[in-house]
């Protein structure tokens, strides 16, 4: 899968017990239009759509690209 949308999401350590903040996060982080799209992985006869995996995979992908770029500099 190629990620043409070069975005990484980086978190910092932070604590929050603010319920309204957590509710807001639940809405803005887990939902909404996703431009990067989804990945379909077929395992045996089972088609699975990993929507949540999108973030993890594109993070790993981007890290790979940076590594590759560095090696060719």
């Amino acid at each position: 899968m190629s990620s043409s949308f070069d975005q990484m999401i980086v978190t910092e350590e932070w604590e929050s017990t603010d319920l309204s903040l957590l509710e807001t996060l639940d809405h803005v982080l887990n939902r909404g239009l996703v431009i990067a799209g989804e990945i379909t992985i077929a395992v045996a006869d089972i088609d699975l759509i990993f929507v949540g995996l999108n973030v993890l995979v594109s993070s790993v992908e981007t890290a790979h690209e940076v590594l590759r770029k560095r090696q060719t500099e």
Partner: protein, 121 residues
């Protein structure tokens, strides 16, 4: 109801619950499942990929276990077959545990959110 600037129906989102602490505890997993800071050194990239692979294997392993139990319940396996199947699955579970330890991953790390299907574990 007419929408207009003079008639702003929308307030900021209100939250109403009698169990704030409980919900805070449950909703915090939203932040816990975010990828942590990406270190672009080989080891972290490797770990990210290991997480992916092990999650898939774990998923399959659980399916296999369920299938085995169903067949056992269905009564079409001999006692020896049940024993063999159980031992094989037991070893598979132990092996996977070893791999998780090797990569420093916990069950929570593998508990990816599969969207509409829910969490893996």
């Amino acid at each position: 109801m007419e929408l207009s600037p003079e008639n702003p129906l929308m307030a900021e989102p209100q939250i109403e619950t009698a169990h704030a602490e409980e919900f805070v505890e449950q909703l915090r997993c939203v932040t816990d499942t975010l990828p942590s800071r990406i270190n672009i050194d080989a080891q972290s990239v490797e770990q990210g990929l290991a997480k992916l692979v092990l999650t898939l294997i774990e998923f399959i392993r659980r399916l296999l276990e369920k299938q085995a139990v169903r067949r056992m319940e269905g009564g079409d396996l001999s006692p020896e077959q049940i024993e063999e199947l159980g031992l094989a699955l037991m070893k598979l579970e132990a092996k996977l545990q070893e791999l998780k330890t090797q990569f420093g991953l916990t069950d929570d790390d593998l508990n990816l959110d599969l969207g509409p299907i829910g969490r893996l574990i």
